[in-house]
Every structure is written in C-alpha cells, then in structure tokens.
Subunit: 116 residues, 2 copies
C-alpha cells in the first residue's frame, strides 16, 4: 500500500455531518453498494487497504466483511469534480450485500426502458 | 417508455431533506456521476425517460443536458437493499461532467493500490 498522504483527507468536502457518499464498484464493473465515510473511516480504509465505512444507523465505523468475511480490497479511490463523492474500485472476497446478492442493487428494479 | 407506476415513488426511502442519492452509470460501465433526486425529479425522470436531478445548491430541478445537450437516456433504475440509493443505467449523448470529461470521477484520483 502507498503510505497515507494526509492531504487526501483535506481534499474531500465532507458534508455538514462530516460524511461523504462512497460508491463501491467491482472489477466486473457492477456497482455493488453506496455507503458513507467520515474522515476516520477514509483514513482507516487507506491504512488497511480494505473498505471501512461509517454506519449512520449504528453511529460507528464498520469494517466491511469483518463479520461476514466478505471484505473489499481497495484498488482505486477517485474523487468527483466537486469533491463530495467517492468512487472506490474494489476486488471482492464475496457478495457485497447482506442479502447474499453480489450487489445491493440486485434486489429491486424500479424501471426498465421498453426500447432498449 | 413504460407508464409511471406511482408505487415506484413510494418504494424509495427519501432522506430527511426529501432526497435520495442517484448513481449514474454509462453502458460502458463507467460511473459518471453521483447526483440527488427528490420525488418530483424521479417522477419527471420516469416521465421523460431522461435524468432529472435536484440541485441542492440551486434548490431546483435540473434536467441534465437541457443546456449542454448532454442528456442521459434512462435504460434502467435499480433501488438498493435498504431503498435509500438509486443506480441509474444511462445512454449518454455526451460527457457527463461540466469539465468536459466523460465522468465526474475522471478529475481526481486519491489513491491507487501499489499491488494491482
């Protein structure tokens, strides 16, 4: 892993609650989940090379896969043009979703275009 | 387009501000942007078959590409397992980002794993 550059944390525009949305994408291209990070969770993510999020409901850090074993190894973190969203490319050890699906977005389709 | 099913709107858990984050992904697999929708913008998106977001800074609906011409035709909308994030597959008419890049995440890379 590359050593943490502290400036990375200062580049992110965290919201009023100190959070930034993080989109997690598999090497397959599938978007796996959207979760939230605070500065601590982003720093830990950079430190251990696996995703660590902030759980808004439990109000605590959450090392993805610590219980399930389905960790996500971080390959790349990109910041968007207004610095308030992250895109994290990962290699998965197992399904991202607690339902057992690969992606949290595999659960419900709201709309499919009729003219695809 | 499929006619709007009003139930779609009631399936989404909008946050305390009436918003839901929407991840926009190209047919190429590239994640283009993260934007926000309220119920009105989601309804308009379903009505016109192109992305319509809610601008938090301008506090108004924003039909993506109305000015630039770079509209996004909606192919599919998926809801995540806790119903508080959308993944929208689109066909792009042009770059998603106001910088001219295809993706808003093309602007800044925070981290690349050294052992990819």
């Amino acid at each position: 892993m590359t050593p943490i550059d502290k400036d990375v944390l200062s580049m992110v525009n965290f919201d009023a609650n100190g959070l930034v949305p993080a989109i997690v994408q598999s090497t397959s291209g599938r978007v796996l989940m959207l979760a939230w990070m605070n500065a601590d969770s982003l720093e830990q993510t950079l430190n251990i090379g696996e995703t660590v999020f902030y759980s808004r409901s439990r109000r605590e850090l959450w090392h993805k896969g610590a219980t399930s074993g389905n960790t996500q190894r971080v390959l790349k973190i990109e910041l968007d043009c207004d610095s308030d969203a992250l895109l994290i490319q990962v290699e998965e050890a197992g399904p991202a979703c607690h339902t057992g699906e690969e992606s949290c977005f595999d659960v419900e389709t709201l709309f499919i275009s009729g003219d695809q």
